[in-house]
């Protein structure tokens, strides 16, 4: 039963399978075994960021293009739900309309950016997406009559989603389905073409693949995945704003998740997102202890300051790119072989 569900792309490592099962079980049982609002927040964030990281991995790991506009699409999703629920009332109809509009807008922007820059060079695409994403962020904070500026939008949801448990399981179920859909896409013939473009663009083109078309479509799918994650995150937070969805910090977070988890392996984004969100939420506490323990030594307490967790993840990121390009998943799989 598992094989068709996972699109034939099995974990291929006992340790990896165990880790994935553990993550899934922990997420399903989170409301019961980890009581408290904070841990439920962490669990929901993990579920959403798995989808966000997986959709980014489709671009970075499978197609070999670096985009810095992924948070822009995440934000479009968030604002889609937020604006619809705030302006048209908290009904299912407005949620559906807002989601549909957000997905359409994302697809249109992704195609436009792709056509403008994907035909030239990978590096060009990275620079242009960075500029466009920065522009979008400015737009969201400047158009305050529409978006609430820096404060963002608070909104309420249909009555059925009022209990936290109901929205949690909605988010979890939707995230799981989205992840499986992405897994299906990368294991389809379409996904194989993307891999061939990543490996050797020149040869793929010589074999008759229209690489620009495939890249643009991949960019579109990645954008739609990010938008869907944005929709879910807004539903969970009942809030949307520039800092929660559009900020460049989140873009950096996604990069770290995908690279540390393992590029070009969908499961990498599960592990990467889980580890990263846990680190973001709990590593500070651990570092507070460590920082206190070395308080006599010069400079060390500053380096171990609870807010410097990103420094150490950054170092880990660079080391990963050099030495473990396939990340944690690649390590786990190599051990078996």
């Amino acid at each position: 039963m598992m094989r068709p569900l996972l699109s034939g792309d099995l974990p291929r490592s006992r340790a990896l399978a165990a880790a994935l099962a553990l993550v899934l079980a922990a997420l399903i049982l989170a409301p019961f075994i980890f009581p408290g609002t904070r841990s439920l927040d962490v669990a929901a964030k993990i579920a959403v960021f798995v989808v966000l990281a997986a959709s980014y991995d489709l671009l970075l790991g499978y197609t070999g293009v670096v985009s810095f506009a992924h948070t822009m699409f995440f934000g479009i999703g968030g604002y889609g739900v937020g604006l619809a629920a705030a302006n048209w009332g908290p009904g299912w109809g407005s949620l559906a309309a807002g989601s549909a509009l957000a997905l359409l807008l994302s697809a249109a922007v992704a195609v436009a950016v792709g056509l403008l820059s994907l035909r030239v060079r990978a590096i060009f695409f990275a620079m242009i997406t960075l500029a466009v994403a920065a522009f979008f962020q400015i737009l969201a904070s400047q158009l305050s009559w529409l978006t609430g500026g820096e404060d963002g939008i608070n909104f309420s949801l249909p009555r059925l989603l009022h209990p936290r448990l109901a929205s949690y399981y909605l988010v979890l179920a939707a995230s799981t389905m989205l992840f499986l859909a992405l897994l299906r896409i990368v294991n389809s013939p379409f996904g194989r073409v993307l891999l061939s473009i990543r490996e050797n663009e020149f040869r793929a083109e010589a074999l008759g693949t229209r690489t620009v078309v495939y890249r643009t479509v991949a960019n579109c799918i990645g954008a739609l995945g990010a938008t869907a994650a944005g929709l879910l995150y807004a539903v969970w937070l009942r809030y949307t704003g520039p800092a929660a969805t559009l900020s460049f910090d989140i873009m950096v977070d996604i990069l770290l998740m995908v690279v540390i988890g393992g590029m070009g392996t969908m499961y990498g984004s599960v592990l990467g997102a889980t580890i990263f969100v846990l680190a973001q939420s709990y590593l500070r506490d651990l570092m507070k202890v460590a920082s206190g323990a070395v308080s006599g030594v010069p400079l060390l307490p500053d380096l171990l300051h609870p807010d410097r967790w990103l420094l150490w993840l950054g170092v880990l990121f660079v080391l990963c790119v050099y030495y473990f390009p396939t990340g944690i998943v690649g390590r786990l799989r190599a051990r078996r072989a």
């Binding site: 970075l60 070999g64 670096v66 403008l116 030239v120 060079r121 990978a122 590096i123 060009f124 990275a126 620079m127 242009i128 960075l130 500029a131 466009v132 920065a134 522009f135 400015i138 737009l139 400047q142 460049f248 950096v252 990069l255 770290l256 690279v259 400079l299 500053d302 380096l303 300051h305 807010d307 410097r308 990103l310 420094l311 993840l313 950054g314 170092v315 990121f317 660079v318 790119v321 050099y322 390009p325």
Partner: protein
């Protein structure tokens, strides 16, 4: 080789076209000088990036961090030399600024050398990993800046001699902007002479065209790479110091904010082209100031608009480098 004057004509059209729209000569003069000053500061920061890309095919996403480091170094020196910087005499002021700028250049150059050695050397020729690794370097150095200087915005009062404005008739021109224009033009001139009139410049230009051939002729292109990278980083540090005095504050995010603008400039100019970078920087600086006056709502988007228009006209930038 035939010179391509069209982009320069575009620049002239923009400057002259703004006059009837602004409809007031003094305001137009103020805006034009402000735009040129901004453009030349951007050019200082962007020229290193485009040169490094042209020669080494390396796009350094951590370039913004060199700008921040330069800005922080300059701020530290200026705050330490508060006595000289706030004294009424011009000489003392200039000495303080000189020391600050030198510190910025030195620190950024040292960081650049370390970066080339440790971070970028293993990933030559691999764009994907270059982008990732330099992004990682950006995260790490940005966090280190917080470790050494703290996370808060540091305000930086401008030295006394550079506050206030010159008044010509009805037009007021800030003194600092005049200094920025002079420094920027001097830098562009020096760079032009270095690239076009010296042996090293010849090698760099040859390396941009065909690095393999230069190597085959017996020159060590690799050593040239290191030099250009260090100079590019030093320029970013210099630009960061100038930018910090222009904004009268430094914060950790400034490098990233400026980097977006620099990317737009480099794309407009054509990746790897110093001349294109110069024209692009001036276009962006002028455009930002004119639209800031004419349509403040549009000002923040004007750069992107300009980039899209230029790319529709010339998809590879104003002065595409043949590759």
């Amino acid at each position: 080789m035939k010179r391509d004057w069209l982009p320069l004509a575009l620049l002239a059209v923009l400057i002259l076209g703004a006059l009837p729209l602004v409809a007031s000569l003094p305001i137009w003069i103020t805006l034009t000088v402000a735009g040129l000053a901004m453009g030349l500061m951007i050019f200082m920061m962007a020229s290193g990036l485009t040169l490094v890309f042209g020669l080494m095919d390396v796009m350094n996403f951590a370039h913004g961090v060199f700008i921040s480091v330069g800005a922080y170094a300059a701020a530290s020196v200026l705050l330490a030399l508060k006595g000289q910087a706030q004294a009424p005499g011009l000489a003392a002021n200039l000495a303080a600024i000189g020391a600050a700028v030198l510190a910025a250049i030195a620190l950024a150059a040292a960081l650049g050398w370390f970066f080339e050695r440790v971070v970028i050397r293993p990933v030559y020729g691999d764009h994907l990993r270059q982008i990732l690794v330099t992004m990682g370097g950006l995260i790490v150095v940005e966090q280190l800046i917080i470790v050494f200087w703290g996370p808060d915005l540091i305000s930086l009062p401008r030295p006394t001699a550079l506050t206030g404005s010159f008044i010509f008739g009805d037009a007021a021109i800030e003194r600092y902007r005049v200094l920025a224009v002079a420094a920027g033009l001097a830098l562009f001139g020096a760079m032009w002479l270095l690239l076009n009139r010296t042996r090293i410049g010849l090698l760099v230009r040859a390396g941009v065209e065909n690095a393999e051939m230069v190597e085959a002729l017996g020159y060590r292109v690799r050593r040239l790479f290191v030099g250009v990278f260090v100079v590019g980083s030093a320029l970013a540090g210099l630009g960061g110091a100038m930018w910090a005095m222009y904004q009268e504050s430094v914060n950790v995010q400034m490098g990233m904010q400026v980097l977006v603008m620099i990317f737009i400039v480099v794309i407009i100019g054509g990746l790897g082209s110093v001349g294109g970078c110069f024209v692009g920087a001036l276009l962006v600086g002028l455009m930002a100031n004119y639209t800031g006056f004419l349509a403040p709502k549009l000002a923040l988007g004007s750069n992107i608009l300009l980039m899209v228009l230029v790319l529709l006209w010339r998809p590879r930038g104003l002065y595409p480098v043949a590759k």
